[in-house]
């Protein structure tokens, strides 16, 4: 079983934006998602494909997970352009049939082999953004071992597909999100838990609101986030990382349960709260998550340091081109 994935924050940007891409590794995002799809105008898509290979390593300068979002209409040229080391994930938009995923799985497998990427290293993010996608979500989620996390049924494209306004103050998507989450859980895939919080502003850059949402998600068991604007990176990093008080509390719960279990008790109370095997399991997961977050933070810091040191030495001793 591999190391636990930590993607508290993500930054998606059009890959052909030199300015965004050049600065992307400095944002402290857990994941950088370079886009070939909706944020890249049609006229620029060919150019965008031509720069993926050289762009991917930029994400690693800051220790981020690197992914590319491809067009569901042109998977072949998009994948040809994208499956290079150090690619870690492909996001397939508007997934509506398991055949689409099987098709790109086969393409990725060939390209991994040809380009020297470890077999199976490239994960597939099968995005469910349409009614059709929801209707077939179980078959889609089951269609490839590259799918390890699965969620969907809400968001901008969903609202477009249904012809509805977003940010209306009630949870319009809870049925579709429920369908996708049940499918994920039934197949043993990581669900993407995001709570409903009334949001009528639709702002993509409100730090306060982002932090509050991240905290609510974390408390409900959510572990990942993402976004479009640098302002939302730190609030999600902070909001989705357990604070020290919670880590300490989890340790106490575990210790209490072990004692209880050793003396033949199935259920007890600690500080007025029930402790049983389920509470112990939650505490264990929290400790594991906290450790994974710390490891990711220290990895990112090391990579940034390394990059800055390297850039500094490049400046004082410029290498021949």
């Amino acid at each position: 079983m591999g190391k636990r994935r930590v993607v508290r924050s993500g930054l998606m940007m059009p890959i052909n934006s030199k300015r965004f891409v050049a600065a992307s590794w400095t944002r402290n995002a857990d994941s950088l998602d370079y886009d070939l799809e909706d944020s890249v105008p049609q006229a620029q898509k060919a150019y965008a494909r031509s720069i993926v290979r050289e762009t991917l390593p930029i994400a690693k300068l800051g220790g981020a997970r690197v992914s590319v979002r491809i067009n569901c209409a042109t998977p072949e040229p998009d994948l040809e352009a994208s499956v290079w080391p150090p690619l870690e994930m492909i996001s397939h938009t508007k997934t509506e049939s398991p055949d689409q995923i099987r098709h790109i799985d086969a393409l990725i497998t060939r390209l991994e082999r040809q380009r020297g990427v470890r077999p199976g290293a490239v994960e597939i993010n099968a995005m469910i953004e349409t009614a059709q996608g929801i209707a077939h979500c179980y078959e889609i989620a089951a269609s490839s071992p590259r799918i390890r996390h699965f969620s969907g049924g809400g968001g901008y494209d969903m609202s477009l597909d249904l012809g509805v306004e977003m940010f209306v103050g009630f949870d319009q998507f809870f049925y579709g999100k429920g369908e996708c989450e049940l499918a994920a859980r039934a197949l043993g895939l990581e669900p993407g838990i995001s709570v409903f919080m009334p949001d009528v502003s639709g702002s993509v850059m409100d730090s306060e609101a982002t932090y509050a949402r991240a905290v609510a998600n974390r408390k409900a068991g959510g572990r990942s986030g993402g976004g479009l604007h640098p302002n939302v990176v730190e609030p999600q990093n902070r909001g989705l990382t357990p604070p020290p008080e919670e880590v300490e509390e989890a340790r106490q719960v575990l210790a209490f349960f072990r004692e209880l279990d050793a003396t033949g008790g199935a259920q007890g109370a600690l500080d007025g709260k029930t402790v049983d095997r389920y509470e112990a399991a939650r505490a264990e997961e929290l400790l594991e998550w906290a450790a994974a977050c710390a490891e990711k933070d220290s990895y990112k810091a090391r990579m940034r340091e390394q990059t800055l040191a390297h850039q500094k030495s490049e400046q004082s001793n410029p290498q021949a081109p």
Binding site: Y138, D171, F174, Y175, K177, G178, E179, E181, L182, A183, A184, R185, A186, I193, V195, F196, M197, P198, A216, K219, A220, G221, D261, G264, G265, A266, Q267, T274, D276, R277, Y278, A281, R282, E285
Partner: protein, 322 residues
Amino acid sequence: MTQAVRRSWLLIPATRADLIERSSSFGADVVVLDLEDMVHDSKKLEARTRIKDGIEQARRGGAEVFVRCDLELLYADLEASVWRGLEGVVLPKVTSIAQIQDAEETLAHFETQRGVLKAGLVGEVNEADDPRTAESALELHLSLERAEGNYDALELLAASPRVRSVSLGRADLVMDLRPEPGGELHLMPYLMQRLVILANTAGVTPIGAWWQGNSRGLAASPEDTLVSARLGRAAGFKGALCVEPAQVTPLNQGFTPSPEECRHAQALAGAFAAARAAGHPYGQLDGALVDWATAQAAQGLLDWAEACAARDRSKAEAVQRA
């Protein structure tokens, strides 16, 4: 067949001799003696020995008695449980037809060996040599606490004629579903609505309350339990499981139509009957249209209220006799 009135299903760990002894005073429609999650592994042997007498004690209050068995320890748990007086078995965390078939076969084995038929309410008598029918065989209640079980619900509910009711059990704990800022438990509204639809499709009674984020694993304060019971009834559930004796009365209350509801239903039924008697297709009450569907629903509510009253009377009589 009249619908069984099972508004409150109180889970009592089989090791809690004190609670089992007092169970006739709690007023539960159903007592579920637990051999699963609420009993530590080291206490299972002891727990099993308490079931036979526990069934008798729990019935003294007029309750129907179920036992919740561990799917991995099914044979031993059923061996300890299949006795005269038992109504059925709760199967937790069900995910496959094979598990239900295993339960069916093992139940049939002990029913035959011991001449056990479903108990019915206190005062009813099944003769040991009455032919065992689907009606008189011990029931199965499926607790769908895992995602796989929920996904395959329709298949599972159809897997045996013994399956008469279904719930989400303690899915919030098993699936780790936690409170959301809006007050609901994550994913539960979806699972609950889905279950009501599938239960009705399969012709099986949906059991559950609309538990909110202020509950945990079927436990909640009496006030919160009443709220969740009312919401559950509004959503189509017919009763709910709980884990504290103090929750029994609020569950009974929440799943019983109130006197005002009954008065209103009476008025609706009357308005429609009068309209039809006068040759009109629709009736009227306080400016609202009363059609056939409304009148049917009103009558359904009145029938249910009557069944609840009969159940309460029979429990009161049982307590008096004990």
